[in-house]
């Protein structure tokens, strides 16, 4: 069928404008799909390879002090493979040219050989010289935040003594992909860094010669981490063990996992919706495209082409278009995927990137596109082919016009003849009109998601940092101290108000579920730290129970009134039974609260605090920092402003980037739907409109009839579009819930307005393009040929 093939190529060329518009919509869908899934896949693969190559440990524990010869006994725990003991200490740092308080964690590396576990990836400079007490390596995130290079110097307060340190190398560690300061919720690379120092000088400084206070283990294949943890805990309890934990509870890993989980949601839910919308459009548009070829189908049939022949011909036509979109989509997707993966590689500080595109992803995109295109085609071809050719060669029966509802109500006097034509045309083909509206509504909804995230993050910040956590500074102490310590803080010049807090690391258990977190003992009626419910009203913490984040209650499957088992992982490590009295709706973290007095009593420790919240007179802020720096009891200082900045940074660099891409592609889809609908409306009605021109209608009058329908469809699409967007956002907030944060469903009026504006702008551009096309109506042709 060579002649038919030639018809196919020429038809494609003639319809190139529309073919392009259809292909673009598909490019949007397929590219998003390929980009997201390949990015997620690559990150997962890269992380796993990174973990493997750097021998990331599987069980971790910290303790007060244990003799080095305990290793022998630890090694005999069944399932343990490698053991690495370390000395880890909190330090305060001074970075030249940076006045904010900076804290860090010092981690020891063996003097003579590289660590057996959690090996470091040297990015710049050199490793430490054995036995040097003035050399450190620092993690790359911290180095980047301050522009530090090998050879630069830092000052650290090590066990109360100030010491100048030289940076020999910049390194990456699988253990600190995310370094999060104790008590902080989000990484803040400016104010918190990880430093590696030779074991011997570090041990000497902390009186840890021949001893360790931190341990990491790797396991033999197939070993159950739980049993090793139990055995390790039994060994370490008498050395002040704080409870061993598996890799999934390791802070950096957990944070990374949550981040990747968020990405996964974005990378699966969203492209699926996108590809679905694109497929739906493809189906509708192709269906209509074929419908306009009804006469040619009839001619082919009149010559004796079978339905199968005709079906094959149009299937081939559509497959060409689909393949064009698919090829473009896959190409764009790979390009964007590589780019995005590289962005994430930098963001997560992976030493390398292993880009991977699963053939299944391509297969899936191809399958969905081809199916959508083919069903649309075959439906339309089938419809045309079912008619006897004689009937199909006549133009579509113009029979079903009816007076519209408005006219039946007797309101037609209010409307001109052209307006009635618009109304009747919409009513005549309700399904078609509905599909156009549905397409535009989906585009509108998708666009809403991008801004929704911004609204939500702003709201989270607002609630978390102006309503709930109102302190300017949080200070953590090296050890629980008497309440009197608070007075020395409150007495510092520049400190306006101070409140003590007692935090205890715990494992919470209910039935078979458990969760490691910290229990926060707050002052009753605390001014700076407020616990809020879902309606942002203050929740009072009763003297005899725990109030916990609703998300945590959900994780544990516990409701108010039930009794929680609390295993304290500090001091005497009591196991307590405390009733849950209420829940709070916090957006960040998973905390549990009780009154500080109650916590002190349960811990049998008197009036102790191990941290404080401060408000500070802004002009005296630097002075307060300096004063706090001088206090040996102070282990860390968190500044609220920098917490907000780092929160924004984290959100922006991960989720918001995705949102931006989606908004762009959403706009793409909006234009695709509107333009295609309008273009098809024109090709279906050009004869009718030309006839009107012949009858003396002006160009604007004819344009009104055609574009009026488009306008009404656009306006009708907005309310369901808003609804769809809201549902979509609602779904995403559910999908994104993690123990790091829960995004509230907050939609500002601006978000609705922006989505509406994009849809309206697409409609306007399409309308302008049609306006120009209407000038080319063939007035003579309509007189010469039939109808």
């Amino acid at each position: 069928m060579r002649a038919l093939n030639r018809k196919l190529w020429r038809d494609l060329w003639d319809m190139r404008g529309m073919v392009l518009a259809i292909a673009l919509v598909q490019v949007g869908g397929v590219a998003t799909f390929v980009m997201s899934l390949s990015t997620y896949d690559s990150l997962l693969l890269t992380r796993d390879r990174y973990y493997r190559e750097q021998r990331f440990a599987e069980v971790f524990a910290s303790l007060k002090r244990a003799p080095e010869n305990l290793i022998g006994r630890i090694q005999t725990i069944p399932g343990v493979d490698q053991v690495q003991t370390r000395v880890v200490a909190a330090v305060r740092l001074e970075v030249p040219g940076f006045s904010d308080p900076v804290t860090g964690t010092l981690v020891s590396v063996p003097d003579t050989h590289p660590p057996r576990l959690n090996t470091l990836y040297l990015r710049q400079g050199r490793t430490l010289d054995a036995g040097r007490d003035d050399e450190v390596m620092i993690d790359e995130s911290f180095a980047t935040a301050h522009g530090l290079q090998p050879g630069d110097r830092l000052t650290a307060t090590i066990n109360g003594r100030r010491k100048a340190l030289t940076i020999t190398g910049i390194v990456l560690s699988p253990e600190y992909i995310y370094s999060i300061a104790p008590g902080a919720v989000f990484p803040d690379f400016e104010h918190y860094g990880i430093l590696w120092m030779a074991r011997k000088p570090l041990a000497t400084a902390y009186d840890m010669d021949g001893a360790f206070n931190d341990i990491a283990l790797s396991l033999e294949r197939g070993t159950n981490a739980e049993s090793v943890i139990e055995a390790l805990d039994r060994l370490l309890t008498r050395y002040g063990g704080g409870g061993a934990y598996a890799r999934e509870d390791q802070l950096s890993h957990r944070f990374l996992t949550e981040e990747l989980h968020g990405l996964q949601t974005m990378a699966t839910v969203f492209p699926v919706i996108f590809l679905g919308v694109a497929a739906f459009l493809l189906n509708v548009v192709i269906g209509r495209l074929v419908a306009t070829q009804r006469e040619q189908i009839a001619i082919l049939k009149a010559f004796g082409y079978s339905n199968l022949d005709v079906g094959r011909h149009y299937a081939a036509l559509v497959l060409m278009i689909v393949c064009l979109g698919l090829a473009g989509g896959i190409g764009t997707g790979i390009w964007l995927g590589r780019g995005l993966s590289a962005v994430y590689m930098q963001f997560y500080h992976f030493p390398f990137l292993h880009y991977r595109l699963d053939p299944v992803v391509i297969g899936l995109a191809a399958l969905v596109s081809v199916l959508a295109g083919l069903t649309g085609t075959l439906h339309a071809v089938g419809k045309a082919a079912r008619l006897p050719p004689a009937e199909a060669m006549r133009p579509d029966t113009p029979t079903a016009y009816r007076p519209t509802l408005i006219e039946r109500l007797g309101l037609q006097r209010l409307f001109s003849q052209p307006t009635r034509m618009i109304a009747r045309h919409i009513e005549r083909r309700p399904v078609k009109s509905l599909l156009t509206v549905a397409g535009m509504a989906s585009a509108c909804g998708i666009i809403m998601v991008a801004n929704f995230q911004k609204d939500a993050v702003r709201h989270m910040i607002d609630v978390q940092y102006t309503m709930s956590q109102r302190q300017d500074l949080s200070v953590t102490f090296t050890e629980p101290s008497s309440y009197k310590a608070l007075y020395s803080l409150a007495g510092l010049p520049g400190v306006e108000y101070a409140e003590g807090v007692r935090t205890v690391p715990v494992r919470l258990r209910f039935e078979h579920r458990s969760y490691r977190t910290s229990l926060q003992g707050l002052a009753p009626g605390s001014k700076l730290r407020r616990v809020l419910d879902a309606n942002l009203r203050r929740v009072d913490i009763p003297p005899d129970g725990i109030v916990m984040t609703d998300y945590l209650a959900e994780l544990l499957g516990i409701s108010p009134g039930e009794v929680l088992t609390v295993e304290v992982l500090e001091g005497r490590r009591p196991v307590l039974k405390i009733p849950v009295t209420g829940t709070t709706s916090e957006y960040l973290g998973v905390s549990a609260y009780l009154q500080r007095g109650t916590l002190n009593r349960l811990m049998q420790e008197g009036d102790a605090i191990n941290g404080a919240y401060l408000t500070v007179d802004p002009p005296l802020r630097d002075q307060v920092y300096r004063e706090l720096d001088e206090m040996p009891r102070v282990a860390g200082i968190l500044v609220r402003d920098s917490a907000i900045r780092s929160f924004y940074r984290t959100m922006e660099e991960t989720i918001l980037f995705f949102s931006f891409v989606f908004a762009l592609l959403g706009g793409f889809i909006a234009f695709g739907v509107v333009y295609n609908s309008a273009r098809i409306a024109l090709s279906e009605r050009d004869r009718e409109l030309a006839s009107l021109r012949v009858l003396g209608f002006t160009h604007p009058e004819v344009a009104y009839i055609l574009l009026g329908e488009l306008g009404i469809a656009t306006l009708l699409a907005l309310p369901p579009g808003f609804l769809f967007g809201r549902l979509l956002c609602g779904y995403l907030t559910q999908a994104f819930r993690s123990d790091l944060y829960r995004i509230p469903l907050i939609l500002e009026p601006g978000t609705y307005a922006f989505a509406a504006a994009v849809v309206l702008a697409s409609a306007t551009v399409s309308a302008l393009m049609l306006w120009r096309k209407l000038h080319k109506l063939d007035l003579i042709g309509v007189l010469k040929t039939r109808e």
Binding site: K7, F303, G304, Y305, A400, T785
Partner: protein, 228 residues
């Protein structure tokens, strides 16, 4: 054709197009079906050509029953036995004259070449033109070439000159006449133009869905001699 009836349902209106038609076409003859518009002659032709099915009655092609034929039989019948010429040519706009003919010759047994078919209608000079580059008469001659290229047993023409002026119309009719004479194709030609009737072997008058009368011309005029 025996007792053929056809009822169209146009939206909410029922139109009885044929009200019991009996007619036989003989091999090699040229029949003109004459009648005013709306008389049912196009419907008759469409049913004859397997483009449409009858509501009642029976249609046979040779000893083949078309009345109860399924889609495949009808397709096969149209592909191998019938050629169509329509009032509005119905060429495929994206194909040249030669390719429009080739669309048909590629799917049938023993066709003539597109070039021969176009030579038969004197269009050998304009074979590589697209429909939009041809005049109405030329387009209709391409349509005739397309219809006769498969060497059909039956050639069915629905108002082939309806959209043409009389001079061009005569050129088109000459092409039909030549095909009928040289190839021996049974030709049925629909028209409301009584002036054309003189070129036929038989003239069938159709009014209001009936056959009014059948008139046999003792002497066929050539198309050249016609005028209207």
């Amino acid at each position: 054709m025996l007792g053929l009836t056809k009822i169209y349902t146009m939206g909410e209106v029922e139109v009885q197009a044929l009200r019991g038609v009996d007619l036989e076409l003989y091999g090699g003859e040229l029949v003109v079906l004459l009648g005013p518009s709306g008389s049912g002659k196009s419907t008759l032709l469409n049913i004859l050509g397997g483009l449409d099915t009858a509501t009642g009655g029976e249609v046979y092609y040779r000893d083949r029953d078309l009345t109860h034929a399924d889609e495949n039989t009808l397709t096969d019948y149209r592909r191998h036995h019938v050629g169509f010429v329509f009032q509005f040519y119905n060429l495929i706009p994206s194909l040249t004259a030669r390719e429009n003919v080739a669309v048909v010759t590629e799917i049938v047994r023993n066709p003539m070449t597109p070039e021969d078919a176009l030579a038969l209608v004197n269009l050998q000079e304009r074979m590589d033109h697209f429909p939009a580059q041809l005049s109405g008469g030329e387009q209709q001659r391409v349509a005739i070439a397309r219809a006769i290229a498969k060497n059909p047993a039956v050639l069915l023409c629905d108002e082939p000159t309806g959209a043409l002026d009389s001079e061009t119309g005569i050129v088109v009719l000459e092409a039909l006449e030549r095909a009928n004479r040289e190839l021996g194709t049974t030709t049925a030609l629909i028209t409301h133009n009584a002036g054309i009737a003189d070129m036929a072997d038989r003239v069938v008058h159709i009014t209001n869905g009936h056959i009014g009368s059948i008139q046999r011309n003792t002497q066929r005029k050539s198309a050249r001699e016609l005028s209207w």
